[in-house]
Amino acid sequence: MTTRIAPGVKGGIGTSVLRPDGEPKVTGNFAYASDLSSEGMLWSATLRSPHAHARLLKIDIGPAVAMDGVRAVLTQDDVPGEPLFGQEEQDQPVLCDGVARYWGEPVAVVAAEDEETARRAAAAIVVEWEPLAPFVDPDKAAEEGSTFRELKVRRGDETATGSVVVEGFYETATQDQAPLGPEAGFAIPDGEGGLDLYVTSQWIHVDHRQIIACLDMEPDQIRCHPAGIGGAFGSREDISLHIHVAMLSLATGRPVKMVYDRSESFVGHVKRHPSRMWYRHEADEDGKLVKVTARLILDGGAYAHTSRAVIANAAFFAVGPYNCDNVVVDAVAVKTNNPPAGAMRGFGAVQTCFGSEMQMDRLAEALDMDPLELRRRNALAAGDPLATSGQIIAGSLPTLAVIDTLEAMPLPDDTIEDDPRLLPGGTGLTTPVSSVVRGVGYAVNVKNLAFSEAFDDFSEARAVMTTAGVEIHTAAMEVGQGLVTVCQQIARTILGTDQVAVVWDDTSQIGSAGSTSASRQTQMTGGAVHAASVGLRDKILESFGGDELREDGVYLHDELVATIDQVCVGGPVGHHVQFRHPETFQPDENGQGDVHAGFVVSAHRAVVDVDPELGLVRVVQVDTVQDVGKALNPQAIVGQLEGGILQGVGLAVMEQLVVDEGVIRNPTFTDYLIPTFVDAPAVNTRVIEEGDHFGPFGAKGIGESPTISATPAVVAAIRAATGRDLTRVPVLPEDIIGI
């Protein structure tokens, strides 16, 4: 393997080369799924349950069918194949199957000649419901065994005790990914009974598997295509409107477009699991952790989605990046009539990082020790066993380096400017400078990379040399993170040319790239592109007896021995690979084993200004040090760190879906608050480059890590400013004032 970049290559690894989809995005010419249209296209709409739990007694679609311009009205009876879908467990009906189990569950779908008719027709369907009491208490669900998964971790000596003990109960609210691009799908019949489907997705092959099962079709009859995606953050890992739009297109023989509006988007995708966590940390007088005990309840809502994997992450990262020989964790994902939960950036590690980092601060206080010093004394390193599973950390894990580097970063000067835009509460002008207090807080996190627990995790890619340059074929979803650029950079570096185009294949053209989630695509699809490029290069060099590939051809001892035209004289030359990460295993009955492929660590320091009288907070600055393995695109890394941090800041101080008896009370951007430009702190970033044991050039995935400990760092800073013992996020004004 070589990491040397051939002469003349400008856009290889380590550069902040521009993304190829940037120009169409700034000019408005990039086609998102919601922008697609065609002649003869129908619009569609969805009727949803107005109850969190109710029996469907009778449905009359007659009034909708009778409306002018309505072309199809479909219910669960019209599902041609498997009635249930689901990524891990098939437990969710395509449309309501007689019982609505969450508020907003799809009941019927309509296709019509225009958008308004479709909406009015959906509203005209008459449904007789028998409302049932919604089951929404996660503690009761845990007690009664209404669960998706219960996971037990037992490591070391359960009877071990430490002389310094802190206990706490913590909660995190339901967070929404709120990607700017709504759920959107476009289905086009192929005239032979099948169709082409363009849907916002994070993983088209796993969509495809579920869609063909429910439609009772052969794999080649349905082709799922990558579509332009406006952000994801986990919200598109599960099926939303995919099967509905496909059914309507098959029923009408017409192209059908389906787009959710914002309120529908809030009910149309899974959320971050709300959590309830009890912790006890025991340490010796020197601050060494002796035992951590935790009980974790995550509410998965009505259907399974990825709850089984989310609760595993919560459990395995329940202690954070620290050594501890004795661990007792009982974790459960419960089933209720609350909104279904699933993937969101951080995937279970966010919740337990909040609980465990709050505990570490309490422990530091009990020990009268600097909170960073406590973390340093317990820092997990490569070669150590993960506190929960006991897995020896292979690859790099520079926990100490991220802590030390973070501490050395400069703090802002402590002048608080008398500009209402820079004060807590903003231009409401309610906070005078004199009442502002400043606080500083720290937090550290560890998370797994790629899929765990014996999942056969792979990505396929094909590198093809043509006379016009290199094509990289993949079905990996670019959701905005910049995978497209990284794939180009890797191929350029190995194949010696800047002329690299990424070609997004559909499900009939290439195998799965796996999900754009779990921080995995840089390592997995990047790894596949790396392997495909190396294979292609070696094949070409061997054919022509060369020792180097450059943009114009094959070289031997710096002499051109074959041009690219000569290389491609028999047509394009390709190399196809399936890339896998190191094998992982199911945990045993005590949660022990080599469960994960790799790990990533980062640390955050937050500086906040607080008006303790009014309970207002302004997050002034967040500094971070991120373990990246190898920085493939420094600018894109900064973008991931800044963006991820702001989602963590959002959970810390403003973001929560208000769910009352299963009903979402704030499904709009007016009421679900997302940080704006004036809420965003200044962010300073540093990276640590210690190559990992798999993936291209030692790079790690960093999509999730920045979100995870940003939240507890901000809360620690608010606590430092106010002295309030804060145990729930988001921290609201009443928590600070102490009402």
């Binding site: 000019t27 691009g181 835009r421 600018q635 430009f677």
Partner: protein
């Protein structure tokens, strides 16, 4: 009813329904999907256009009220292959990730620079606080605008 709107310098006549928004008409009737639809409540700024010289959320403008107006959308800001300086800077600074908010920032930002060519950092933040970005954390967007205004590196 028919309304006449000058869009990106071209006079267009379009038959609109009484309840339709300008956003709907731009996207669905005038084939200008660059203006994005993300909340339809005037909260996110993805649908920002210049409407008779003002930066507005086109989801909040009734199409019928747009009769006789002049509208500039993101598609009208780049001339042939030449990008607007805001577009150029957002591209160069990595201010584009998923890009769904980008047209709104480009339009709001171009209007900001017309009305205040040398904004301070708090002025940039305040002027663009009606545009939500979920990907970038705003850092790269701030650097892009500081570059355009000569404040940045």
């Amino acid at each position: 009813m028919n309304v006449t709107i000058t869009v990106n310098g071209e006079e267009r006549v379009v038959d609109v329904a009484g309840h339709e928004s300008l956003l709907n008409v731009l996207r669905n009737d005038l084939d200008l999907p660059g203006t994005k639809d993300a909340c339809e409540q005037g909260e996110c700024g993805s649908c920002t256009v210049i409407f008779d010289g003002e930066s507005v959320c086109s989801c909040l403008v009734m199409a019928a009220d747009a009769d006789g107006s002049t509208v500039t959308t993101v598609e009208g800001l780049s001339v042939d292959t030449e990008l607007h300086p805001v577009q150029e800077a957002m591209l160069a600074e990595g201010a584009v990730q998923c890009g769904f908010c980008t047209p709104g920032f480009v339009v709001s930002g171009s209007h900001l620079l017309e009305t205040n060519p040398h904004p301070t950092e708090p002025e940039i933040r305040e002027a663009l606080s009606g545009n939500i970005c979920r990907c970038t954390g705003y850092g790269a967007i701030l650097r892009a605008f500081e570059t355009v205004t000569g404040e940045g590196s």
